[in-house]
């Protein structure tokens, strides 16, 4: 890939939180950012989180077995969810590209006239678990810097929702989501103090 460094997160491949990996190309020097004793290797002090690392290893193993099959499966679910949302719900915008240049498991959509945190709560009350790039879902009360960096307006970031599909999801999960989602969005748009017709 020709990179100098690469980070990998365990939880992004359905492994446990608390473990990650850093690839550093030979010859690249990295400065320490955390100092302390008990160092078994030069970059990071402290005792390794062995259970999490083992979980990370098992997650990687599982992710790599039947890899192509899983990727196709995720892409199909991803694309049917994207289509269902963009065609079925007005004032929505896909964040990021479609098709091959898009991560197979990622559906990130901005719902205008709705705030993201409220939508994540409403969806969770209906059995659908997602996250959002709104300021109110961030611990520092700032909207997703990634969405702002790709040129989205603040409102679009506040209304953004991230759905992740996995090899464990089924087309029925997508159907259920597409049943529940428009109702939640509608309800919150009725509560909202900003409405398309008032603009």
């Amino acid at each position: 890939m020709g990179v100098d460094m690469l980070t990998l997160s365990s939880h992004k491949i359905l492994g446990p939180k608390g473990a990650g990996a850093l690839y550093v190309r030979e010859g690249v020097k990295v400065e320490k950012i955390v100092y302390g004793p008990l160092s078994t290797q030069q970059h990071w002090p402290g005792v390794e989180n062995v259970p999490a690392i083992y979980g990370f290893y098992k997650a990687a193993e599982a992710a790599l077995s039947r890899f192509d099959e899983n990727i196709s499966h995720m892409r199909r679910l991803r694309d049917s969810l994207i289509k269902g949302i963009l065609e079925g719900i007005p004032y929505t915008k896909l964040n990021g590209p479609e098709g091959d240049r898009r991560a197979p498991d990622n559906v990130n959509v901005s719902f205008l006239y709705v705030e993201g945190e409220a939508l994540t709560v409403d969806l969770s009350l209906n059995g659908v678990y997602v996250s959002s790039g709104s300021a109110c879902t961030s611990r520092i009360l700032e909207p997703s810097h990634v969405l702002l960096a790709i040129g989205r307006e603040y409102e679009e970031a506040h209304g953004s929702i991230l759905f992740k599909v996995s090899r464990f999801h089924t087309p029925e999960d997508i159907d259920y989501t597409l049943k529940v989602l428009p109702k939640s969005v509608d309800r919150l748009r009725r509560i909202s103090s900003i409405k398309p017709e008032r603009r």
């Binding site: 409220a118 709560v121 409403d122 996250s131 300021a135 109110c136 879902t137 611990r139 103090s193």
Partner: protein, 165 residues
């Protein structure tokens, strides 16, 4: 996106979020006031119907914001029903938080915004009728200042963002 940890919302907040009381615009409102902005991701609009004796006959809200924001706006409309403007003025963000069963600290700003919007509405009423009661302070209260700061800060950030594009 930061990892989202589900917030310890109280039962009351979830209840009001699911079934907000006094929701919707009021056609025949005496006054209407808004605090916050869509750019903040935090915005509350109150509609008040005020009787001649300066008591609040009816109050409704609309809100663009998180679950706590919606609950705070809704509970505020319940708290002020039937009260005189003088009594309604005294409601603080802590009262709102308490009535909601306690807001998590990261959500205090929702109670503050609700009070900011309410006080704006009360000021708007007195401007409309051209009177100024002695109990109405000249200077903005903390909750009103916070709303203003939020609105201004976003303006500044948006301008900076546009300049970079």
């Amino acid at each position: 996106m930061s990892t989202r940890v589900p917030l310890p919302y109280s039962k009351k907040v979830i209840e009001l979020f699911r079934n907000p009381k006094n929701l919707g615009a009021m056609e025949d409102a005496t006054v209407k006031a808004t605090a916050g902005s869509p750019a903040c991701g935090d915005m509350i609009t109150f509609y008040l119907k005020i009787r001649d004796d300066e008591t609040i006959e009816k109050a409704t809200f609309e809100s663009y914001g998180c679950a706590a924001n919606i609950a705070a706006a809704s509970i505020t409309t319940e708290m002020i029903k039937g009260k005189s403007l003088k009594e309604a003025w005294k409601i603080s963000w802590k009262d709102v938080s308490e009535d909601l069963g306690g807001l998590p600290s990261i959500k205090f700003h929702c109670g503050i915004l609700a009070v900011g919007a309410l006080r704006r509405a009360i000021r708007a009423y007195y401007e409309k009728v051209g009177r100024k009661p002695e109990w109405l302070p000249e200077d903005l209260t903390m909750e009103e200042k916070q709303a203003l700061e939020e609105e201004r800060m976003l303006e500044i950030m948006e301008r900076r963002a546009k300049a970079l594009k």
